[in-house]
Amino acid sequence: MANSTPLHIVTGKGGTGKTTVAAALALALAGRGRKVLLCEVEGRQGIAQVFDVPPLPYEERRIATSDAGGHVYALAIDPEAALLEYLQMYYRLGRAGRALDKFGIIDFATTIAPGVRDVLLTGKVYEAARRRDERTSAFVYDAVVVDAPPTGRITRFLGVNDDVAGLAKVGPIRSQSESIMAMMRGPQTAVHLVTVLEEMPVQETLDGIAELTGAGLPVGYVLVNMVRPSLLSQDTVDALQDGRLTAKTVAPVLRDVGLPSAAAPTLVAGGLGHIERQRLQDEQRAIIEDCGRPSVSLPLLTSGVDLGALQELAEPLAPLEDAR
């Protein structure tokens, strides 16, 4: 029997729509009667913004029902609250916990002592992914999705417990850190990388895959976001490229429908620009297809993000159900 419920870690370069994709993935995994937990760890309240709900407290609460009838719960993990909860849960440090607070240790641990934040954040994910129903002893959640730090920081974030295990040679912190690392590297975990089809994000994705692999962390899918469909047929592309479709051909057509013919050069230039952008997009797509990991394409949402749009993104994400 598995030690934890399936854990999906979603990372990506800033600006690639990581939070939106993580939210869509949570919906995709929430099949009929299923419960999925969506966590954020950076204190940005990104989930609340995507689902258009008030800021989330440090509490698991239901924020959406998927088309299939499953439920998405959300949790904004706050390191301070996680530390006090952790001390209470594992050490029953009620009074001592408050004393720690009084001595500034909670503050020290969560803001100043670097790294401890990440330990607490990953520790809370670990706890949620292993939590079982007391009665049925089944996992409370059918899947946990984490809107994780960006690609540049992800390996350090997930591997932070390795560092801690290195510092603590014995004792409960060491064994806890080792268990967390075992789960992060385990068969139930997959780290997905969100990218857009531009040079820098694609390069960063390849670097991220190499880094994660090098650290022994399991890479899942590359999620290609904001893919722009071609609006031009091959016929029009050919006509533009071999000079059969020019401002001179376009101008009279515009005049016939009552549009200013002076706009013709702009339209032709716009068409050529579109071809160029599609070519660059195809170039980057070829690199992704070559990277050795499966990928999924998600369309650009032109009308903003709402629950309907998230459901639209969720559809192509269905194969991640058995990503590992």
Binding site: A96, F103, R153, I173, T266, E276, G304
Partner: protein, 399 residues
């Protein structure tokens, strides 16, 4: 680097000349005048990840250098090809001249990439006796703190800025800030350091090394027992050794951090917030702007990268959308024109959305000037690309 007399934000930017605008948009600053003004000594580019901060910093630095300034650009984590174009092949913490710049105006450009561990090591070595330094450098807590833990980058970026400024070799330093998860971690670094130093926890850790434990209240027993239970005695011992060894350094650290903080607030420093016209990035930009204002940091303006041109084609998105279907079933020229109208409508809709975001930002931050930089077809990874960005930043024009 002494704290200067408080000045009002407008006093602080005498060199910012406003262009009189006839459109309903905020005035934009004259970036060229600002780069040319010798009183501008430090430019900090901050913003969310993925908005082109490093590119903006490099473009500003290159433009200033080609206009005759002696410039150093400090980058944190540049994309590989951009780094190569600046000659940044090794991470050795030393500013090196960038080849291929036009030195006709008598300027120069050096570039460096931050190596946080060796910056930290240098501080330790500079401030501790050789034996103490060796002890600290070997401590497992120090090794973790200086190399692998998040948060150190922000401290060290600001430390390096202070060092470069103190060296006095450059008359303009342009800094790219780390892609912090909490937007302005680098601003918080000095205060966090101070609160660490004054913290009772540190005193507690130092207590066994320094004096009788009875100095502490009854809480001490519970606390050490709790720490022992959670961390294990060996971790606590390592931590105590680390803190004790570090104790001598703390004073110097705090001083430096405070000096850097006042340097950032001083006349001669200009902050640019960098964003792209997307909801999340603009939200983050608004947060940065508010935070900088709250901390009395001299904000020069908001640079919005990758703006799509709402060109004067004379066909609105709605007109294009209504004409296209009428043409779609016609002759070849009509069908093709219909497709071109689709492309045009998409661009116009995108430009409209972006304009709405910029307007909303400007309505909420009327005193913040906005510099739009149009989207380029390809990523920037050579000096020519940086020059093109620089042209857009420098020349007052509507994107």
């Amino acid at each position: 680097m002494t704290r200067r007399a408080a000045t009002t934000p407008s006093d602080r930017r005498p060199h910012v000349e406003r262009r009189i605008s006839t459109r309903h948009e905020p005035d934009r600053i004259d970036v060229d005048a600002m780069l040319a003004d010798r009183r501008t000594r430090i430019i900090v580019c901050c913003g969310a990840g993925g908005v082109g901060k490093t590119t903006t910093a490099a473009a500003l630095a290159l433009r200033a250098a080609e206009q005759g300034r002696t410039v150093c650009v400090l980058t944190i984590d540049p994309a590989r090809r951009l780094a190569q174009s600046l000659g940044l092949v090794e991470l050795d913490n030393t500013p090196r001249p960038v080849q291929g710049i036009d030195a006709g105006a008598g300027g120069s450009l050096d570039a460096m990439m931050l190596d946080m561990k060796s910056t930290f090591d240098e501080v330790v070595i500079a401030h501790a006796s050789p034996e103490k330094a060796a002890e600290i450098l070997a401590n497992p807590f120090y090794v973790a703190l200086s190399s692998s833990f998040a948060g150190t980058q922000e401290y060290m970026a600001m430390e390096k800025l202070g060092q470069l400024h103190a060296e006095g070799r450059w008359d303009l330093i342009v800094v790219d800030t780390p892609p912090s998860r909490s937007a302005l971690d680098f601003l918080d670094a000095p205060e966090r350091l101070s609160s660490l130093l004054d913290g009772r926890f540190i005193k507690l850790l130092l207590a066994p090394a320094k004096g009788p434990a009875r100095l502490f209240s009854a809480g001490l027993g519970i606390v050490t027992a709790a720490l022992n239970k959670v961390l294990g005695a060996q971790v606590l011992r390592d931590m105590q050794t680390f803190v004790a060894a570090f104790d001598t350094l703390f004073g110097g650290f705090r001083q430096r951090a405070e000096a850097t903080f006042s340097l950032l607030q001083a006349e001669g420093t200009a902050f640019f917030v960098v964003a792209v016209p997307e909801p999340a990035a603009m939200r983050e930009a608004a947060y940065f702007v508010e935070r900088l204002e709250a901390d009395d940091m001299p904000l020069a303006g908001l640079i919005v990268n990758r703006v799509h041109d709402e060109s004067a084609a004379g066909i609105s998105a709605a007109d294009a959308e209504s004409a296209a279907p009428r043409l779609a079933r016609g002759r070849a020229a009509e069908r093709r024109t219909a497709e071109l109208l689709d492309v045009h409508a998409e661009r116009m809709r995108l430009a409209e959305r972006e304009n709405r975001l910029r307007d909303r930002f400007s309505a909420a931050h009327r005193n913040v000037e906005v510099v739009p930089v149009p989207a380029l077809e390809t990523d920037v990874h050579d000096l020519d690309g940086l020059r093109r960005i620089g042209d857009h930043l420098g020349t007052p024009q509507r994107a």
